[in-house]
């Protein structure tokens, strides 16, 4: 699983070229993750027990599925801030339908479709109406946050229907279904991004939308599709979460959207778009999960964890910016001989033209 690097990449200054910087850029997060795992495992050997690891996977499945969708959006140079309220709305839809006698599978399907619908709305706002993605999804998220309370008077719904909790709490050969769903999302997401022309076009658009358009890539369509993927992941994350808890999470958890963004960014995917990979998001998610588990073992309270996480996102962002500036300065120094050559040829052309006249 390599990071894909189209040829123009080298010239756009996302990855530094010389010295230790490229290695740090590419594999720094892997090193940090391994050190964290070792540290937590030494602090508490039970961390590495199979039961604990499976628990962590189950606990992080909704955030992980959302992070897969967010990776698509961010790689294409966009952003989706509506994920948390979209997620909340989908859990409420699933719970309302299931408690009103609709078969569980059908209510799950409708919830997923609602998620896709949200993705389509976001796509229209951003691609057709050309609204800045942050503002568009911030506003659509704000609007969606009110929706559960309009659909039903009390959107905090306990669901006791048979089969509603199968997806969230069931097992297959000892592996929880939700873990399998998460794994499927990561594998399919990685294959789509790194092994298909569609994935290539996402990287291309994130790297340089103008050039991609000139190459003949349908920039609008591909960008729109990433928001639909994000909407799909909202729906699936929502049914897994609703099924795990047998409860609709109508109050959106501010930490959820945060965990999603941090997973993507900490993994090393650039928020500028065009650089990153699905395995990076997986490692970012694992790092965050390990860190949280470690902080819990150290009995750090949840409010301090907000601060720790806030600093992590800023450090990760600073790292991204630092690496890009290193790359751009090395690119400038590589170009310098060319730019001094240019005036010479220009002068030569001028004198040639003068001789002619």
């Amino acid at each position: 699983m390599n990071d894909i690097q189209p040829r123009w990449y080298q010239s756009r200054g996302l990855v530094p070229k010389s010295g230790w910087a490229p290695l740090l850029r590419r594999y720094g997060i892997v090193l940090a993750f391994l050190m964290l795992v070792i540290a937590v495992a030494i602090g508490s050997p039970s961390f590495l027990s199979l039961q604990n690891l499976l628990n962590i996977v189950v606990q992080w499945t909704p955030a992980g599925i959302l992070a897969v969708g967010a990776t698509f959006v961010i790689l294409a140079g966009g952003f989706d801030l509506s994920a948390a309220s979209g997620f909340a709305l989908c859990t409420v839809v699933a719970a309302i339908l299931a408690t009103n006698g609709i078969p569980v599978s059908l209510s799950f399907l409708v919830a997923i479709l609602v998620g896709v619908g949200i993705g389509i709305i976001n796509a229209i706002l951003i691609v057709a109406l050309k609204i800045n993605p942050f503002i568009a999804t911030l506003a659509s998220g704000f609007a969606l946050a009110g929706a559960p309370f309009i659909l039903v008077e009390n959107p905090f719904i306990m669901v006791s229907e048979d089969g509603f909790d199968t997806l969230g709490t069931g097992h297959w050969l000892g592996i929880p279904y939700s873990g399998l769903v998460l794994l499927a999302f990561f594998v399919i997401g990685d294959v789509l991004l790194s092994r298909t022309p569609y994935g290539q076009s996402i990287y291309s658009i994130g790297g340089n939308p103008e050039a991609s358009h000139l190459f003949g890539i349908r920039v609008g369509l591909v960008t729109a599709s990433t928001y639909v993927v994000s909407g799909l992941s909202m729906g699936v994350a929502a049914i897994v979460s609703a099924s795990q808890l047998s409860y609709s999470a109508s109050e959106q958890d501010p930490a959820l959207i945060f965990d999603v963004i941090v997973s993507v960014v900490v993994g090393g995917t650039s928020l500028a778009g065009g650089y990153g990979a699905m395995w990076r998001t997986a490692i970012g998610l694992a790092t965050l999960a390990t860190l949280q588990n470690g902080l819990n073992l150290l009995q750090v309270d949840s409010s301090s964890q907000y601060i720790v996480k806030g600093f992590i996102i800023i450090v990760a962002l600073g790292f991204d910016v630092w690496m890009r500036s290193l790359a751009q300065s090395s690119e400038r120094s590589a170009r310098r001989p060319q730019s001094t050559a240019q005036p010479a040829t220009y002068a030569k052309a001028l004198s040639a033209a003068e001789e002619k006249t």
Partner: protein, 355 residues
């Protein structure tokens, strides 16, 4: 997302200067871009006033002025930030933090003056932090302030272990609940922010520099402006405004809590973008923010008077933000296209003249 920002170097006000208004121009897109929002406000006010005449009563209007002071004060500063192509998503958590610091200081036995000063200093510190991230480290302002917002939220929660901090010190509520000549002191502070904000932006060199930086940062840098300092200064101003808003809220409620008003960030953004200040930077005005403030306040008040669920408000406000931004972007693309057409026409004319 960055492409949008770069495309839009031509902004409508500049075009207006090139073409003195004629009768034909009055009904054109330029006019609608400039004053359409004021017309929308007039229509909205008329509608709400017809629905419930008590809307226009002096008491109601004065109440609204006081009620919207915190959001309005932050919106004035947010206008500055947006003009230099910035953004701040951390203001809700910062607002709570400033309120909490004021309440903690007063509850801890410090005098009211010290408590208010502590809130202002907290706001300034938040502004320095955000400014350093965005202007110093060149981190995308949306993401940087999402991150700093989480840090601030963490601080809010840590500082309020008992959910509420209540203050019973006498005089602590003088700023938030007091009034003079029947008008709340908060209202005077809001008006002072609006007037000073408009004056600095329009009549000082500093204000002109901000427009230059927002219109084209690269050109501003090449003409010798300290782009980073100027950008950072807007965050400092926003931090200060957050401090003022936070202490007013704490003073009014005589208490503070974490997540005091998590949706205030939407109100502030809605106020600024609804007025027509461009998210692409380089254009906008405080009078626009004042009109945006009046519209959002009228909508909220209208909803309350008509007895509609507050959850419809979030849908309406979200939609209003989207409409405003989409329209503004559309107007800007039309302007850019017109400019391109005109310069192409001029080029062909001058080409003919030389041949």
């Amino acid at each position: 997302m960055t492409a949008n920002h770069i495309e839009s170097e031509a902004v409508a006000p500049r075009v207006r200067k090139q073409n003195p208004a004629t009768l034909g121009k009055l009904v054109s897109g330029d006019f609608i871009y400039s004053y359409g929002i004021a017309i929308a406000l007039a229509i909205l006010v008329a509608l709400v006033a017809i629905g419930d005449p008590s809307f226009l009563s002096l008491t109601n209007l004065i109440n609204m002025l006081g009620q919207w002071a915190p959001a309005g004060i932050m919106a004035v500063a947010m206008t500055y930030v947006i003009i230099v192509r910035g953004f701040d998503l951390s203001i809700a958590s910062g607002f709570s933090l400033c309120a909490i610091v004021a309440a903690l200081a007063a509850a801890g036995g410090y005098s009211n003056g010290v408590a208010f000063a502590a809130a202002l200093l907290t706001g300034l510190a938040i502004g320095v932090f955000n400014g350093a991230l965005v202007a110093g480290f060149a981190i995308n302002p949306f993401i940087a302030t999402v991150g700093s917002g989480f840090i601030l939220l963490g601080l809010d929660i840590i500082l309020t272990p008992n959910a509420y901090i209540t203050v019973d010190q006498s005089g602590f509520d003088s700023l938030g609940s007091g009034s003079w000549l029947g008008i709340p002191i908060k209202g005077f502070i809001l008006i002072a922010f609006l007037l000073a904000g408009e004056f600095v932006l329009k009549r000082t060199r500093y204000g002109q520099y901000l427009y230059a930086v927002g219109g084209n940062p690269e050109a501003a840098r090449l003409s010798g402006l300290h782009v980073r300092t100027l950008t950072g200064s807007t965050y400092l101003f926003l931090g200060f405004a957050t401090g003022v808003a936070g202490l007013l809220a704490a003073s009014q409620l005589a208490s503070a809590q974490a997540r005091m008003e998590p949706t205030i960030v939407f109100d502030v953004i809605a106020i600024v973008v609804l007025g027509g200040t461009s998210l692409a930077g380089g254009s906008g005005a405080i009078w626009r923010t004042a009109v945006g403030l009046a519209i959002i306040a009228t909508i909220s008040n209208g909803f309350t008077l008509l007895g509609l669920s507050p959850f419809y408000q979030s849908i309406v406000k979200g939609t209003v933000i989207l409409l405003a931004v989409a329209l503004e972007g559309w107007a800007q693309r039309v302007t850019t296209a017109k400019l391109a057409q005109r310069s192409a026409a001029e080029a062909s004319v001058s080409g003919r003249e030389t041949t």
